[in-house]
Symmetry: D2
Subunit: 455 residues, 4 copies
Amino acid sequence: MQNFYTSTLLTKEKVFRDPVHGYIHIQHRVILDLINTKEFQRLRRIKQLGTSSLTFHGAEHSRFNHSLGVYEIARRICDKFVRNYPSLEVGDGLWDDRERLVTLCAALLHDLGHGPFSHTFEKIFDTDHEAVTIAIILSPKTEINAVLREVGPDFPNQVASVIAKEYPNPQVVQMISSQIDADRMDYLLRDAYYSGVTYGTFDLTRILRVIRPSSNGIVFDISGMHAVEDYVVSRYQMYMQVYFHPVSRGMEVILYHLMKRAKDVYLDEQQELGYSASFLEPFFRQDWRLEDYLRLDDGVLTTYFNHWTDESDPTLSDLAGRFLNRQPFKSVRFERKHDLKTVAELQSLIKRMGYNPDYYTSTNNSFDLPYDLYRPGQISSKTQIEFIQKNGEIIELSEISAIVSSLTGKVRGDERLYFPREITHGFSQEGINLFDNLADEFRSYIENDEIIQHK
Amino acid sequence: MQNFYTSTLLTKEKVFRDPVHGYIHIQHRVILDLINTKEFQRLRRIKQLGTSSLTFHGAEHSRFNHSLGVYEIARRICDKFVRNYPSLEVGDGLWDDRERLVTLCAALLHDLGHGPFSHTFEKIFDTDHEAVTIAIILSPKTEINAVLREVGPDFPNQVASVIAKEYPNPQVVQMISSQIDADRMDYLLRDAYYSGVTYGTFDLTRILRVIRPSSNGIVFDISGMHAVEDYVVSRYQMYMQVYFHPVSRGMEVILYHLMKRAKDVYLDEQQELGYSASFLEPFFRQDWRLEDYLRLDDGVLTTYFNHWTDESDPTLSDLAGRFLNRQPFKSVRFERKHDLKTVAELQSLIKRMGYNPDYYTSTNNSFDLPYDLYRPGQISSKTQIEFIQKNGEIIELSEISAIVSSLTGKVRGDERLYFPREITHGFSQEGINLFDNLADEFRSYIENDEIIQHK
Amino acid sequence: MQNFYTSTLLTKEKVFRDPVHGYIHIQHRVILDLINTKEFQRLRRIKQLGTSSLTFHGAEHSRFNHSLGVYEIARRICDKFVRNYPSLEVGDGLWDDRERLVTLCAALLHDLGHGPFSHTFEKIFDTDHEAVTIAIILSPKTEINAVLREVGPDFPNQVASVIAKEYPNPQVVQMISSQIDADRMDYLLRDAYYSGVTYGTFDLTRILRVIRPSSNGIVFDISGMHAVEDYVVSRYQMYMQVYFHPVSRGMEVILYHLMKRAKDVYLDEQQELGYSASFLEPFFRQDWRLEDYLRLDDGVLTTYFNHWTDESDPTLSDLAGRFLNRQPFKSVRFERKHDLKTVAELQSLIKRMGYNPDYYTSTNNSFDLPYDLYRPGQISSKTQIEFIQKNGEIIELSEISAIVSSLTGKVRGDERLYFPREITHGFSQEGINLFDNLADEFRSYIENDEIIQHK
Amino acid sequence: MQNFYTSTLLTKEKVFRDPVHGYIHIQHRVILDLINTKEFQRLRRIKQLGTSSLTFHGAEHSRFNHSLGVYEIARRICDKFVRNYPSLEVGDGLWDDRERLVTLCAALLHDLGHGPFSHTFEKIFDTDHEAVTIAIILSPKTEINAVLREVGPDFPNQVASVIAKEYPNPQVVQMISSQIDADRMDYLLRDAYYSGVTYGTFDLTRILRVIRPSSNGIVFDISGMHAVEDYVVSRYQMYMQVYFHPVSRGMEVILYHLMKRAKDVYLDEQQELGYSASFLEPFFRQDWRLEDYLRLDDGVLTTYFNHWTDESDPTLSDLAGRFLNRQPFKSVRFERKHDLKTVAELQSLIKRMGYNPDYYTSTNNSFDLPYDLYRPGQISSKTQIEFIQKNGEIIELSEISAIVSSLTGKVRGDERLYFPREITHGFSQEGINLFDNLADEFRSYIENDEIIQHK
């Protein structure tokens, strides 16, 4: 199935020191070659957590860093599987180690298509990181594709189909993408390590002891129920305390408006950008190719923002400065079903204070952040977390865990109205506020960090 | 001495979660305001370890991150001092807590003047990060200066004089800058944490228990001798294993040649850069102002490199690609006193293979990296590490520690010749090497990772 | 209120190195003197986790170790309180630091009355460790009492009333004894550290930032909700995974029967113990004094067990050997409401195999272990975990945490039938089993680690 | 070579959770059976660090705990060896995995012969823990021997010869016993973890990557030089800061005198012990058998001490109380070559104060503690730490490490005179000192924690 190139291991295992896993162990030449491609090296220049690092200053790690970790967890799972559950014949639901290489490649490459500040970027420019990942793998122009093709002409397709969740073996797919996969396990541990919080810590070594292949994908030994339960709680805690943090979202709102303004100015025939943001232009025009996408990284965007602080368009230069110098919008929580009228009221006040509401206020909910909590009701049954009992019967997690059951099927997070900080906090430097009356009225709608309604 | 603004503490202490120290505790409004200046926020965009993060992938943390840590250690030392050794009268050698604010500001700001890839940048453009730090503090145009001036008209000068090591109180100066200061203590712990090595770990809590103010600066209680000894060994280990790593230096050599080539092309009237690297131009011309310097960060440089991969100058685009895609030069160790002739021989071979030796080879020694090991022989006596005994007598560290004595006054590190990787490793993709004979000859001079001489 | 002796701090703070808290800081002479009493030193010889250390071999730490930790957490809470919430007038619900000393003493001494293998011992000999703690504090014959009396004649009474939860200030009582107190916080962290599991880890530093005094005792700032929620989950996990472990309970069952047998033999006029277990005799006779109690420790009991392996009574020597050489009874889960008849059936089989059922089988449920999960329904409202919101309103934890709500008011743990291991596992050494038929029948009632009923 | 019993692996690997190594992995039935013998379970009742746990309260772990760790490190080394350096033919200096079982057994059992407070016990009763280990392994009466015999009739001899360092394969011997063996690596990490100090931390994972088999035993890849160097420094630091701690030695001096007094009283025909310390009697009489030795543990000794506090012999009851209640002798440092006369003077003063100098004072040096620092001068060359270079040449550690060289061949530690604490610190309770003049004279000989000479 695989040729000489890839089936041969490195004569000497290579390791990368890693703060989360101790070492990343590289045993195949193809893995090393993939890491050394320029498309993979680009991930060094894209932060894993986007604007969250502006709230948790320790969490400045890149997607390169995380991708190695996902690879390493997948590798350890394969090791466990081949030692404890080696397939003896086709269809026995055990692990066929010929799947190892495609699994490892998919694990390593699963984030390849991320752009800078992915989710915000995608919203504005209508891109899709998963589709880009697949495109990079399949495009004959990329170094990634060239390396994968060395394994076999169909190998890029196989790796891409794992990413697309269409690979025939569900064990491989679920190891990379399910409610408890190598990706999520690595980012919880890694983001916790780098941000300095303890909430993301769960017992990886225990989970690696109880994970098992099955005909339908991945299951866990019942003896590991509490370890898996603890993982789900860790995930919930990381979302509540880190990923959904209101201040990070306050920077994200600025970022969104900043890129939108740049695009609007670029497309406006009356105006032009003083500084050539040439790598972004294909995206402004909605006419980009893969090679354009691969030029982008966090530094490119912030460099353009840096230049834009000199632009003549006051909205553009102001927002660029707010982002670069970390001046997040403030926010207040509201309930969509009761408070929409008050939200409109507040936005009208913002406008009356002289801010363009298209760029200086918006609502943001954490639900549409790209992280999904454990919600089996909304996903296909095959990615539920399941356990195998001593007598071979399967049981689903939320049936046996009151804690997980309490988190199941419920949307978490909150919805917030964002606005410039100076409205509620005054201008710290000058101490002048021309809109005192309006600001007072604005503040009268807020109590306990929530929107209240006037009687 | 200090006005209302600064002597008032925040009504509620503010904390930043930090993976190394747990929390960074902010108690003064002035500290919070300094952190929120744009000059300080810029440090988020400059990596602490430069090219080392290309060897230790975990170590992607910024100087912002480290600067908060230095501040926090200084704050903890002040707390210990005021609790245990409060000055009762002028000149008693104890701690006067009115020095706290200038100490904390200097600790926080000590790295403010660092540019992207500092040491390489400084070599090419003849800049000096310490001078820039002082300029930022003193310039009436910076936000930093504006905040500091709120404390008092002379306060910026005071903070600057701590950085310049000219502040009259040696306790303050040595807490920020000595053989065992808040800066070094933070970076050892932090760089170890982020890179995932254990070598930088020493017992900070123990050292904070034994550190004491004295008339001549800082001393340590004799009971903490082994903890301090362990710190010195940790520092030595971090230099040997992380900071002096040959691969990081292989990337630094490329970076140096890349910027040098860009400058040469820019200054060459025959050529011109296709892409306007406008923020760098004042530096190419050696005619820059502070505001130019403050536009620079890691992202700006890598964005220009990214654009330069499209330049028509082949050396420039090649080197830009090597840096961006992490293709370090390889190296071999040599001894200056015996091997210079062989080094010249090898460099001539490199030239004969078609490489421009001005950009494709150079020697690099780790001695001139900006880290100095404990070498009391070469520095003024006041920054030695000293202990106070029960009867009040002072004794210097290397007198009582055989280990430290063995490290004292000796230059560490090595000298290496760098050259393109393909010379000794072939072209992994194409498998073709036009210079087989020359490469064979080249390799014949290398054994055990060292230059050997032909008989 | 307090005399010179105790109100004076040590001239130099003394520290004990601690693996969980870094250092234990001793600032009062009275605390140091209490630690040096023989009653407190006795706690070094009593393991914190009893038979759990026979399942988690790492967890061999003593109650001395834990008691210092509880003291340290209480000390840190007092420090936070006095810094952030100092009482200005009586009855303002803030912290009066004159309560510090009584709080610290109660924290340090709260476990003083524990005997060896406390809970099993108490069941057999009808002792009560809390009552003994109070007796040690109040008895004029103890060194503890002598030290406390130096503070003031009523001081022992005050400390005792904190232990008895009758002290007038609820802040002091709840800091030592409530759903989230210094005791529980220390033992979760400590037991997790020593056993090597991660489940007990929660964010102590965060909780110390949000804990506050109130008129009714202790509350938490609403911003710390998730940290407190995480603590409750950690506690739940430690109970499920460590404290309720079936194997530890299998050793506890042996221990119980062993001591019961020794007592029965001692009280039986027909028999006598060959070896004088003199320290235990007052307990066999149910006629003991405080000084008898204070002679006991883990080593005394295991030494007697060691001697008893030579006793002529076969049950006594057999059980002593099983305990000493760690041969736990095996167990199977059952449901009291369905399975009692089957349990009786199995116990009758055990008897028919020749075992005395009084000593060789029993049921054990983990509910009556001395740890209670969060069950607000069963306890008085004042020890619920409560939060204070920005506008001053109080809200109870399970109202705002779905996770905690899911754990609330529900009994956790399971009920098991214990029996000699050889019944289901054969005799590993000799390979002979005289009761093969009976054993087969026995095993036919077990599936999936549970009792099943024959059709 | 090995029979079915032992060559068969467990059907399912068994793990023990361990705080230092994560998990201890048991793959052979024979290892599990050895752990379950009563001789091995006895090690749970013997503390690893003896009196050190009275200084570092966290370090209460047992030799059982440590023995599992040594086994686990040996197991990991075997795994590395068989994967990377499998022997292809006899005598090739590589690893023959048929040596695995004897290696693992020796690693697990190497401390089996330790008694309670080993070193002190051995001094008084002239026992030798290594000889006892071998006796337990070889005696046909032990469960250990029975398990080992199942492997093969000669297997106990093989395991014993590893302990005796006479086993023919030096790789096996050095893995268990050399300057850098599984034993030392485990105890450094473990003692550091439990005591809460950081000094014992070194990079085990790195060392496991560079360790290699060779014809002469064990060598290390030159690339791991700094990791090995760091291990040597860690060892030095643990000796200086933990193992040689003067207060622990102050308890050891009491322990020694206490047991000596008990023996003297027992052997004195005029006196008799009121309480039968029956397990100790064979040792008092110097006429013990292996089964007597195996009855002893820490609890047995402290239980006897507990009873002895009631003895009529005042020296015996006083010393028993001092040990039980942790009242260490104080000490002062001296230099044998200058201070012996002053030491004699001080001892005469102690006698004049009414203390029996045979039991109330003694000198103690840390050199004869059972830990030896790296002293290649004093040991045979084959146990030096050696490195293999790229070209195959061997080089010894102290030749390439200035730090190790500075520690080489030098005796570390100090010599101290011990005496009752009340001589220099008064009687804290009663406040009376009948020997004020003598005590003043005594104190006049001490300065800076050292003996000084009167002029």
